[in-house]
Symmetry: C2
Amino acid sequence: MKSVAYLGPPSTYSHQVTLQRFPPDQYTHLPCIQISDIFVAVESGKTDLGVVPFENSTNGSVVQTLDLFCDREKSFPSIKVCGEAYLDVHHCLLGHPRQSNGEISKDTVSRIFSHPQAFGQCEPFLTKYLKGVERVDVSSTSKAADLANKDPSAVAIASSIAASVHPDLQILASNIEERSDNTTRFLVISKATADPSSIENDDKTFMTFTVHHEQPGALCDMLMVFKEFGMNLTSISSRPSLIVPWNYIFLVEFEGHQDASHVKKALHKMNKYCQSMRVFGSYERGLKRDKRLDG
Amino acid sequence: MKSVAYLGPPSTYSHQVTLQRFPPDQYTHLPCIQISDIFVAVESGKTDLGVVPFENSTNGSVVQTLDLFCDREKSFPSIKVCGEAYLDVHHCLLGHPRQSNGEISKDTVSRIFSHPQAFGQCEPFLTKYLKGVERVDVSSTSKAADLANKDPSAVAIASSIAASVHPDLQILASNIEERSDNTTRFLVISKATADPSSIENDDKTFMTFTVHHEQPGALCDMLMVFKEFGMNLTSISSRPSLIVPWNYIFLVEFEGHQDASHVKKALHKMNKYCQSMRVFGSYERGLKRDKRLDG
């Protein structure tokens, strides 16, 4: 049975997408404390696969994950990307039964625990029902549910499955997020990349690169190669290189499989324009509707 | 006397750069609780200027600031960028006199307060001297000093000026950050942009744009215009547009003043390739050494 590492503790959104994508009758699941632990688990061979949050449609990039892919210390030479998965994120307000007599009121709630991203996504609900109540930032929505479970006057913003693991908590309100299209994209990492999918143009490739600091327009030259070979960009981000200040590592995802001949030619041509590059592998598109950065 | 809003409370790094750039004998200073309050203060005319953190050479972009420049709700139609300022960030360990008898030891420290970015920047020091001591994330290094001041067994990672405003605290260790080149870049906002500087090629311009979702290669076409007109990029970032998922607003800074004829021509040409664009104005380069994204 193959094993999958995810960002725990159990009942996080990472756990939810892992259960969907890698059913527990076929995979064993390993909760990790930090995203870096997932990279370590895969690199060391402790698990076969890892599921890491990459970006949220409302909040943008997950910076810790970007930094791990930058791999400045070369700690993860074997890590590849072999898949992606999307999760529709629906937040619940979890609390104690006595808090739900009638409607949700700030009179029965002393504080709200959640992750900063979740607070950001539920602003209108909080303003309407719990304005002025103290908010406590914690490291995961799962941890938030844990803390609310121990405090009869507190509530948490967390996933619906967090209610099922805490018998003292119940769902006081569902779908309290502002946007109904709130989606998180996860990447699946392993030591092997994926074969081309059977459907044409259904693969994407993930890579990082740095450009020569002294060569004007080098970033533009790199992006031109993508255009020349018809490889649409689906994601671009950057992080400090930490070699010299204000020098960046770019993280790019594009349409096409690394084994396709036009992609091979393009990657070869890119060598001219970049200082360093690393291709993390190809995988089948996880979302059937179009996600393109530039068209 | 002109007034400047900054991210308070007093003794933050934002305060420090504001004091350097806008001396208190010439400007009144208004501390704000959140970065959005600085935008509101300038837009409403409550202050003439605002200083907002934009990026750190170690940690990258300040996402809250990027989102405010995205201005999705059109709340800040008058905001322009009229300057930039750099601050060398040096962290101190602040604590109580009895904790400094001899060397710093985890036996005399129950917990460490700081901002998550500061913890990230002092990892080797913390591992060496305070391994395993509880860390408490708070919203600013200034707040961290405040909390340590009230708790005789706690310490804080904060600026040296935070020690001067808390008489019970003293500097237990200085320059505890990992990288000596740890720098934060701030932008200065106002309702007016700056005139071209007297030195040629010493101005930069800040703008945001979105590209047509349906037009392949539109981002590349936009970047080509910068190259064609010799306008080097010095910064590029993106944030979710929040119009449809996986559609982005790009935030770009380039060399050149918006009143220069080649920049005017380039901006005119860009209109073809983007769905929307907003030029936030031009300002003199704050750092005399070269900071170029792509050359």
